[in-house]
C-alpha cells in the first residue's frame, strides 16, 4: 500500500505541491538529503508531463502520484490517463520547432539522466512513470 497518495487536477500550479509533498515523504522515508533535490526534480518532471498530456488531450481525470516507503527503497509512481501517452513515448521529434513537445522529450531526458531506477510504461488507458531511490537503513526519527 502507498505511504502517501496524491491526486490533483491536471493544472500547472499544482505540480509544485506534488514536488513538495514527494520531497517531504522521501525525507521521512530516509532518502539521503543530497538526493532529495533529484527526487523533487524527477517527480516534478513526471507530473509536468502528465499535466501536459491531460491538458492537451482534454482528459479531466486527476494526475495520480503514489509515494511508497519500502524496506530499502522509496518508490514514486506518477500516472496519467492520457490515451496518447504511448504514442508520445515512442514517436519522438527531437527538433525544437514545437516547444511544448520539445519540453516533453526533455522532461523524460531529465528523468532518465537523474534516476537510476526508472521505468516508463504506457497503454491505451494511460502511462505510468515509476522511479525509486535507495533509503538509508536507520530511521530519521530519534
Amino acid at each position: 500500500m502507498a505511504t502517501v497518495e496524491l491526486r490533483f487536477s491536471a493544472l500547472p500550479e499544482h505540480v509544485r505541491t506534488a514536488r513538495l509533498v514527494a520531497a517531504a515523504v522521501a525525507r521521512r522515508a530516509g532518502v539521503d538529503e543530497a538526493v532529495l533535490d533529484e527526487v523533487r526534480l524527477a517527480v516534478g518532471e513526471a507530473c509536468t508531463r502528465a499535466v501536459g498530456l491531460h491538458l492537451s488531450n482534454g482528459v479531466e481525470a486527476p494526475v495520480r502520484v503514489t509515494l511508497t516507503e519500502e524496506e530499502k527503497k522509496f518508490s514514486i509512481e506518477v500516472g496519467d490517463e492520457s490515451p496518447t501517452s504511448a504514442a508520445l513515448v515512442s514517436g519522438s521529434h527531437p527538433e525544437m520547432d514545437d516547444e511544448a513537445e520539445g519540453e516533453d522529450e526533455m522532461g523524460l531526458a531529465v528523468i532518465s539522466g537523474l534516476v537510476d531506477d526508472v521505468e516508463v510504461t504506457s497503454s491505451e488507458s494511460g502511462g505510468v512513470i515509476r522511479m525509486s531511490w535507495p533509503t538509508s537503513p536507520q530511521p530519521l526519527v530519534s
Partner: protein, 113 residues
C-alpha cells in the same frame, strides 16, 4: 515561491535577473519576458540564474526558445550560473554545449565568441 524577473542594460547587453522557481507554472512568465525583449530589439541577452532555486525542463525549453529567437537576429543568449544543482540539469540534457555558461554577469557581458 514565485518567479521574480528584472531586467537592466549593461553596455550593449540586456541582463535578465531571474529569481525563485522556474517550472511548468512560472515558465510562461519567463517566456513572455524573453519574447518581449527580442520583439523590442534586444538581441544580446544575459540570463542571470544565481537567484533561481529550482529549474526543470519547462524552464530549459523556454531558454532554448529564447536562444532560437535571438539567433534569428544574430544575437546571443548567455547564462550566469554557479549553482551545482542547476548546472547538473544543463549537463544531463547536453545543454552545456548549447549555452555559454558564465560565472558572473561581468564575465558574460564582456564575452564575445
Amino acid at each position: 515561491m514565485d518567479l521574480s524577473l528584472s531586467t537592466r542594460t549593461v553596455d550593449d547587453r540586456t541582463v535578465v535577473e531571474v529569481g525563485g522557481e522556474i517550472d511548468v507554472y512560472t515558465a510562461p512568465k519567463l517566456r513572455e519576458q524573453l519574447v518581449e525583449l527580442v520583439n523590442d530589439g534586444n538581441y544580446h541577452l544575459v540570463v542571470d540564474m544565481e537567484g533561481v532555486d529550482f529549474l526543470d525542463s519547462t524552464g530549459l525549453g523556454v531558454l532554448v526558445g529564447g536562444l532560437k529567437r535571438v539567433r534569428a537576429h544574430e544575437g546571443s543568449l548567455r547564462l550566469v550560473c554557479n549553482q551545482e544543482r542547476i548546472l547538473k540539469i544543463f549537463r544531463i540534457t547536453g545543454l552545456t554545449k548549447v549555452f555559454p555558461i558564465h560565472t558572473s554577469v561581468e564575465d558574460a557581458v564582456a564575452a564575445t565568441d
